[in-house]
């Protein structure tokens, strides 16, 4: 069953990102599902802060992927928003980001990837309830989810 978490501000979303980063290990993938303005960027900024990434977390919408150096591991930040056909992922070497040995992958718009999903992953769904209110659903998928 997914864990539900109500969020009522951008600051709370970022703080959740910081806390969530603490449970991430190299090879982990996090899929972020939420519409435009749901708070994916804010969550990602929190994760980056939690991993000790210095400097800006520029949107990967245009470049598809941006890499950041954290304290102990890298953050691979992907955004598949501009993708239409999952087969196009082959072109960016997408499979190397699915369970990176030296870091974690955070994938926005994972629904554009079709079947190209990691073997195991965290899925965070963000539903915008109106105003500043969001409902998060956090669930672990894959072989060790039991």
């Amino acid at each position: 069953m997914p864990t539900e978490l109500p969020i009522d501000s951008a600051a709370a979303m970022r703080q959740f990102g910081v806390e969530f980063a603490a449970r991430l290990r190299p090879g982990d993938s996090v899929l972020l599902h939420g519409d435009l303005g749901a708070g994916k960027t804010t969550f990602t900024q929190g994760v980056a802060e939690g991993l000790g990434v210095q400097g800006a977390v520029q949107s990967p919408t245009f470049t598809l992927v941006r890499e950041h150096e954290g304290r102990e591991m890298r953050l691979y930040h992907l955004d598949l928003y501009r993708l239409d056909d999952p087969d196009e992922l082959e072109n960016i070497g997408y499979e190397t980001y699915l369970d990176p040995p030296d870091g974690v992958s955070l994938i926005e718009w994972p629904e554009r990837a079709g079947d190209w999903l990691p073997g195991a992953f965290w899925l965070i769904r963000i539903e915008h309830l109106g105003g500043d209110r969001r409902m998060l659903e956090i669930q672990r998928y894959g072989e060790d989810s039991a």
Partner: protein
């Protein structure tokens, strides 16, 4: 010196012939924008595949339009950074093949430096722009929001950039939230006609005295405004799917579209213009240049012209040199060639591209 330029860093396939860095003899762009409009964005692999089939006809067209043959060309230039690697490689490999088969020198060019250089381009029957150094350039497009300082054609420095979304991306995403089309800049500009730019107080993120930009909060603020006009969604909740479909919100008929578009555009324009002017003041620059696709925004041009002091030269390139093109690459390459900065067959393509001449004085 006549240089053939090739540009394939993102969605365009372009080739151009430019004489002595400034005089454009030809500028051919095989725009794939019609294809992308169907998909609501640039699709990288689609771009790379289209570019492979387009590259030779585009180069041939550029040579023909310049009324010359490959043997009349003195050097071959290509964008090799930054961009989508799959797309960049199409141009880099084509340029290397031309250079190798003809024995001509090969020059690799930074896309951002090319955009800035677009300001110096002109046709043979047009006057050469007089742009005194130091120069500050505001480069704004779908993937870029940068403030660059040039003290000469050989000294570039990056002063500021976006810490989250690019200005063009803010237009694209705002356009989608308002249910308008792609690309977002022109769509919002059209929708804003007759709208009141002061109707909604969208945030103008200045980030203190920094020359950096932030546009992510603006998008969220627009979402908060349109939210007031959102009708309750009584469609049954989708169950079972890992990724439930995002259903576009339904708005009331009285959604003030023109006011929202005008206010949103005004917020982006105000931050870009005021920050560019502050950079000019802080650096003592004598010219302020615009570059990139968003430089075509009419309100941005008007605002910058309004607030720039009379002794500052304000300039932007004609539209065909604002969006991705190869003339800017061939033009920029001339300055590299004059300094003997040539590449060779080992030159690679890179997704990131630091400004080559930053702080090397």
């Amino acid at each position: 010196m006549r240089i053939l330029g090739i540009e394939t860093s993102c969605d365009e396939t372009a080739a151009a012939v430019v004489e002595d860095g400034e005089v454009v003899l030809s500028n051919v762009i095989s725009s794939q924008i019609a294809l992308h409009r169907v998909h609501g964005g640039v699709v990288p692999e689609l771009a790379a595949r289209g570019q492979i089939t387009a590259i030779l006809p585009v180069v041939e067209a550029a040579l023909a339009e310049a009324a010359c043959e490959i043997n009349d060309i003195d050097a071959i230039a290509v964008t090799n950074r930054p961009g989508l690697v799959g797309s960049l490689l199409v141009g880099v490999n084509a340029a290397k093949a031309f250079a190798w088969s003809t024995g001509k020198p090969f020059i690799s060019v930074n896309h951002l430096e090319g955009h800035v250089h677009a300001n110096w381009l002109h046709r043979a029957n047009e006057p050469a722009p007089d742009l005194p150094f130091p120069v500050v350039c505001l480069l704004v497009s779908g993937g870029h929001t940068e403030l660059l300082l040039m003290t000469s054609h050989h000294d570039y420095a990056l002063l500021g950039q976006t810490i989250d979304d690019a200005a063009g991306e803010a237009f694209d995403k705002g356009s989608r939230l308002l249910g308008l089309g792609y690309p977002g800049g022109p769509a919002i500009q059209r929708a804003s006609e007759g709208g009141d730019p002061a109707a909604f107080a969208f945030p103008r993120s200045q980030l203190g005295d920094s020359f950096d930009f932030s546009f992510s909060g603006l998008k969220t603020s627009l979402l908060r405004q349109v939210d007031h006009y959102r009708l309750p969604d009584d469609r049954p909740k989708q169950t079972g799917a890992i990724f439930p479909e995002h259903r576009p919100p339904i708005y009331r008929d009285d959604l003030p579209l023109a006011d929202l578009a005008a206010s949103y555009e005004a917020a982006i324009v105000e931050v870009l213009a005021s920050k560019a002017m502050r950079t000019v003041e802080a650096t003592g620059a004598r010219s302020l240049l615009l570059a990139g696709g968003v430089a075509a925004n009419r309100k941005l041009r008007e605002r910058i012209s309004d607030i720039a002091p009379e002794d500052i030269t304000v300039h932007w390139p004609p539209f065909e040199y604002c969006t991705d093109n190869a003339a800017m690459i061939a033009g920029r390459a001339w300055h590299l060639a004059r300094r003997g900065e040539f590449g060779d067959l080992t030159t690679d393509a890179f997704p990131k591209g630091a400004i080559a001449h930053a702080n090397n004085t």
